[in-house]
Amino acid sequence: MSLPAPALELEALEVAYAGVPAVRGVSLSVRAGEIVGLIGPNGAGKSSTLHATMGLVPARGDVRVGGRSVRGRSPESIARRGVALVPEGRRLFGELSVEENLELGLAGRRENGDRVADVAWVYELFPSLAESRARPAGELSGGQQQQLAIGRALVAGPSVLLLDEPSLGLAPLVVDLVFSTLETIRDRGLAILLVEQRAQRTVALADRTHVLANGELRLELTPDDANDTDRMVAAYLS
């Protein structure tokens, strides 16, 4: 019996901006119920990899979701195939309410299915959002905004969740909350591709973590490597 296709596969992905390569031949896969980390120095091509996966920037190579290629599709159609991105800087609609931001997340649902249950689950996951339903998203604290950005991606009922530096600019306690939430989400069977700057925490959390440098995958780390500081430093300096 063959295994089902991975939820997300990137094959020889290449991104270039005005001829300058940012991502060079990245291939990786994420299965359902798995967190795959992507770490590396600034400018390594982490965000570009996520943007290319989401169809936000043109790319060569292939992106497959549940075994089906989404190459060349528009961001909205990739979202409707079950991919949700929590972008860097959250990109919330500040003047719209928490509830309206979550409702916008529903735009990417593949079927109308159990949208009510998914919204309820997000409020259960992040109780502070439930208390602020009617408030403009721009008035929330940084931590709440990050929760809303993750919640907005989750209400779409995605099979693949892409996160771009979700811990950026957050207080340590809030970072703990975000990382523990990711575990809960993984347990629900989602495939998670996590781009992070917090290398050690990411390696410890993810089932495996790729180190990206200068647009290329250099190394694969497992949770056992999380405390091997030499290996981590070597990976960054490679």
Partner: protein, 311 residues
């Protein structure tokens, strides 16, 4: 000389505050506000200044004139006007706006200039420079007396229609899913698309609503100006575009207020200027526009600076 000027100014002011002039100015403001919404809505979602908006109104007005020529009942004429304007709007969106969506604002503006002149030339070939007359709703020009004022029925119809249209639009934008998608696309189109908001659907719906408003304006304007020529609504569109910029293009509310305000100012100036000087009205109006823009370049009612990208 100064005594002469002062007495001229006091005449001007007393004419401008005359309730009759005020009511007419509000009526004109209502029509201009509807045009401003049509222009502002498409700008918000597509970041596109549709210079051809006036030619949509002109096409609708010719449809009304065509129906009135054949003595069709008013309802049928209005239906034809809506059909023509909506069909043209859809064609514009599919053939020009959508393929050019990734181009610069300048390219899109020039493209709408091209559409405007194309439609105007077609009207010229088809109906000639003297145009046609639309008279089936002429009875709306009769006045009714309310509180000692003679108010033309069309003024009341224009104000009520504008209020109803704006209320319906607000309900659509705030209560429906497509309305929420339109607002989100106007704020940050890339994020909206990333969430699954369909750019094409949002663009089509915005252009269709703008088209409906153009058809409404065509009906209201032909009552006041029954002679429909190829340049019908051209000057009004330029004035409204100025009003939208004066109000602040980046928000629909400020664009609408700007449209209303410039219509109202235009009505006041028209009512207060002696008829021998009415040809100076646009000069006065655009003088005011320049003055406002010097003081508030982002618009009178805008809250934000700068633009975000289009869908």
């Amino acid at each position: 000389m100064s005594v002469f000027l002062a007495s001229g100014l006091s005449d001007f002011v007393s004419d401008a505050v005359d309730p009759q002039v005020q009511v007419d100015a509000i009526g004109l403001g209502a029509i201009y506000a509807l045009m401003a919404v049509g222009i502002g809505l498409v700008f918000g979602v597509l970041r596109l200044v549709n210079f051809a908006y006036g030619q949509l109104i002109m096409a609708g007005a010719f449809a009304l004139a065509f129906a009135s020529d054949r003595d069709w009942p008013a309802g049928l004429g209005i239906a034809l006007c809506f059909a023509v304007v909506l069909a043209l709007s859809l064609a514009m969106e599919r053939v020009v706006f959508r393929p050019l969506r990734t181009q610069s604002a300048a390219v899109m503006l020039i493209a709408t200039f091209a559409i405007a002149f194309l439609l105007q030339s077609i009207a010229l070939l088809w109906f000639g420079p003297l145009g046609k007359t639309a008279t089936s709703l002429a009875q709306l020009n009769r006045p009714v007396e309310i509180g000692g004022l003679d108010i033309r029925k069309i003024t009341i119809v224009a104000i009520v229609t504008a209020v109803v249209c704006l209320a319906l639009l607000v309900a659509l934008l705030s209560r429906t899913s497509i309305g929420l998608h339109m607002r989100a696309a106007a704020i940050d189109s890339q994020t909206a698309r990333m969430l699954g908001v369909r750019a094409n659907a949002v663009s089509t719906v915005s252009v269709l609503i703008a088209g409906m408003l153009a058809a409404v304006v065509a009906v209201l304007l032909t009552v006041q100006i029954p002679t429909v020529t190829p340049t019908f609504a051209l000057q009004e569109t330029i004035i409204v575009l100025a009003g939208v910029v004066v109000g602040g293009m980046t928000r629909l509310v400020s664009a609408t207020l700007g449209g209303f305000l410039i219509g109202y100012a235009s009505g006041l100036l028209g009512g207060a200027l002696p008829s021998s000087q009415s040809q100076y009205l646009p000069s006065f109006l655009f003088g005011l526009v320049i003055l406002v823009l010097l003081v508030r370049p982002d618009g009178l009612f805008s809250r934000t600076r700068g633009l975000v990208e289009r869908v």
